[in-house]
Amino acid sequence: MTSILETRSLNKSFGGVHALADLDIKIYQGEILGLIGPNGSGKSTFVNVISGFHKPDNGEISLLTDTGMKNIGGKIPADVASYGIARTFQSSKPFLNMTVLENVTIAAMLRESTVPRSKAKAAEMIEFAGLGSFKNTLAKSLPIEQRKRLDLCRGLAIDPKLLLLDEVMAGLNPREMESGMELISKINQRGIAILFIEHIVKAVVALCSRVIVLNQGSLLAEGTPKEVMNDDHVIEAYLGEGFQKRGEPNA
Amino acid sequence: MKKFVFKVFVVLALCSLVIGVNLNVIAAPKVVRIGFLNPLSGSNADAGQQDLNAAKLAVEDINNSGGIKSLKAKVELVIEDSTSDAKEAASAAQRLFTTKKVAGALGTGISGLTMPIQPIVERYRIPIVTNSVNDDITSKGYTYTFQVTPKGSQFGETQVNFFKYINDKYKLGLTKAAIVYENSGYGVSTAEGIQTLAQKAGLKVVLYQPYPHGFTDAGPLVTTIKSSGAEILFPVAYTTDAVLIINTMKAMNVSPLIIGGGAGFLWPAISEALGKNVNGLISVASWNWDSKNITEDPNMVAITERYEKKFGGFMTEHAGPSYLGVRLIAEAVDRAHSDDPVKVAAQMRKLSLAKGTIGAFMQPGRVKFEASGWNTTHPVMIQWQDNKPRTVYPEASATRSFDPSFLKK
């Protein structure tokens, strides 16, 4: 299992608060890695540091490229994207006054040389993501599910090797979550590794082959979803001290 | 379709408005129009206002004495505000020359506004009389520009000669000179004149310093003057900076002999600003109301008195030449028997007006334009005495002698 992304003693603190503390994390090729942890555990910071929006204090981030592992720590977001890492934002950030097609075309332009080719690619991606019927609607008039789907679709359009999904499922009803998970596994089948940051345990268990847990910026646990869910430390971190283990935590 | 029609309608409306604005019909032949182009707004508005007063008086005087006799026509002044912006001045000139049939025009008193107008004047072959002093105005081969006043480079000559005159006469023994000038067309051309002459006259130029016009504090400038040890100061500035320099020098008791470079050191505003402290101040001037060529001719004196009565202040350095400019154009129209600008220009080039005519209004007492369009004249030196600038040099033009009592101070 060759890893596509590795961090070695990754550190980031904001004014004394250690958001990330000596993190060594590996994401393997083609896997869907779940990343869970209570609020404020550093999940979003981790995504922001990997995607270049925050500069790491120290430590290394290396990404698999055709010429072997390359250190991408400290690169600006645009470079990180061109190396092949796409991301979505916790609160979706579409280009509001543009249509869905225009939104995705912007992303497709990273790899496609001309505007018409980018548009064609974008149309293709839109169909793939099931947004066909919304192609010419303005992003600002899309409901929450379609906005999330648009974020995903835009990320796809830059042909990433790794897709960072930051709480893509938040705010969706069960039916929407079902089709969301379907789309994510469809994306994964195209060989794109996914870092799946989510609170909804059901989705993590269903999609992820492996899960890592962060707490106060450091790695608390790692393993299959089942192992992690039953790990005492994890339960303690989530539910606070004083709770005994009571078998399978209900969804 | 409806929206489309609406849009085409708007565009056509805009175009017709542009056309309608200016195509008024040519007035009855009985009026000769003389254009007036000077800054009535912006930073040079105070100079423009002096020119406007003089031009109005000139037109009044012409009409009171029978207008243009050969055409039996009254004269009308067509006023355009050139503003103090060069681009707008060019548009104003374009508007004046193409939409109003003028026989000639007066404009402008500010070098930086006259030069952008000259190509337009040349294009429409309309004679203009300017009282701005920059040497370039009559050195670029323009044939329809007539410069009534002395040139910037002559200012230096007169200032240095005058200094030598009083330096010898009163044995002042001063040798170290500082030249500070406003970094503008007027400032640069005047300062270069002073520098070349001062060196030739054996003066030691210890400071040759441009300063940004419209500065907020004369402190640094006066400090530089003080540390340069200059005994004579040749400042070239408009009113705002001149007042600041003199006040700050008084405050820092730096008191070299000041020989002003015209404009700011000569206009009424400085006497309002300095009160009686202005008396004794010397300055070069492109024209002064009490030079001998005027005081010895009752008609000329009458003009300056009419000006003072009408506008409540002595006729200023800008007003005199502007008045003369309008009268010269009227004279040329009269001699050309036509208000066709090309004919008027031809007459202007032939003008040779000496004593007894309006030509006496400009020292040394005659008006004659060279091929370059420059009227061969020379600046005069004035000294403020009882809050009025009095001509004290050269002797041929002086009506008052220089009052040395101020030198001791």
């Binding site: 225009e102 | 708007v10 542009v18 006023i79 503003t83 374009q94 508007r95 294009r123 323009y142 640069v188």
Partner: protein
Amino acid sequence: MKNLNISKALPGIFLVIALIFPIFIHHDYVMHISWMIFLFAAMGVGWNLIGGYAGQLSLGHAAFFAVGAYTSALLYANFHLTPLIGGLAGGIVAMVFALLIGYPCFRLRGPFFTLSTIAFAEIVRILLLHFTGFTGGALGVTIPFTGERPLYLQFYSQVPYYYIALAILAAVLVFAFLFERSKTGYYLAAIREDQDAAESLGVKSYRVKLISLLCSAFIVALCGAFFAFVSGYIDPDGVCSIDFSTEIAVIVIIGGIGKLWGPVLGAALIIFLTEATNAYLGSLKGGAGMLLYGILLVVVVLTKPEGIISFFNIGKSKGGESIDDKHIGNAVTE
């Protein structure tokens, strides 16, 4: 992006009207006003590339105008070079200046960028004044008018200037039309919508803004060269003043910022109104014309912030309505 909701024919119709207009009306003053409108419109379209599409409000574009004017005028004064080449040289020199200001200034946002463009233009003006030996300093540069010299853009009649200015405007509009639809155009719209989201998709906002500034500088410099030869005299305070930079910006903002036709409409309105007020009110009392201009400015801002163009709904903008800059407070991108 092509959802301009005007009929495709309208630009063609405007061009035809403009081409035949001088046949019917060729009074020199009307021609003068027209080429002034075309010139300011072309500069406005140039300014709009950075001010509208990239949302970077510059109040220092007179610096590029001055660089274009001075380069072409000095090339003429020293080597008798025709402005057809001198103008291009001016454009290139202006692009170099754009690199100088672009690199440092694009890390700034909101009022800080605007203030730094003011400082940049003032520095250019002061240097033009200071190096008298090279630029003629305060004495300025004269290009004497010595009769009909087409190679040096000198004509007796104003009609040729009308057509040259029209050609410049048409070329600039076509460029802007294609620019809007180019990758850079899309990227600029994306940046204006949400710079973080755009950067996460690989958009190098700094490089894209620099490209739009380079194009903008080239266009405005070209207009500077044209103006230098038509007016025959340029001086630092005339071509590089704060008031002039502000006028270019005001024309686009009033006409409709971020919209292809905004600058054209703004130029027509402002130039026409300034001329009309100066023609009728100028001689009345100094300042009356400008007072009306000030009142118009305030009224437009308070009643119709998106600019006059929204009345006509020509060329719906792709992206931001007005200059909505969300990162107002902090000066620097993280």
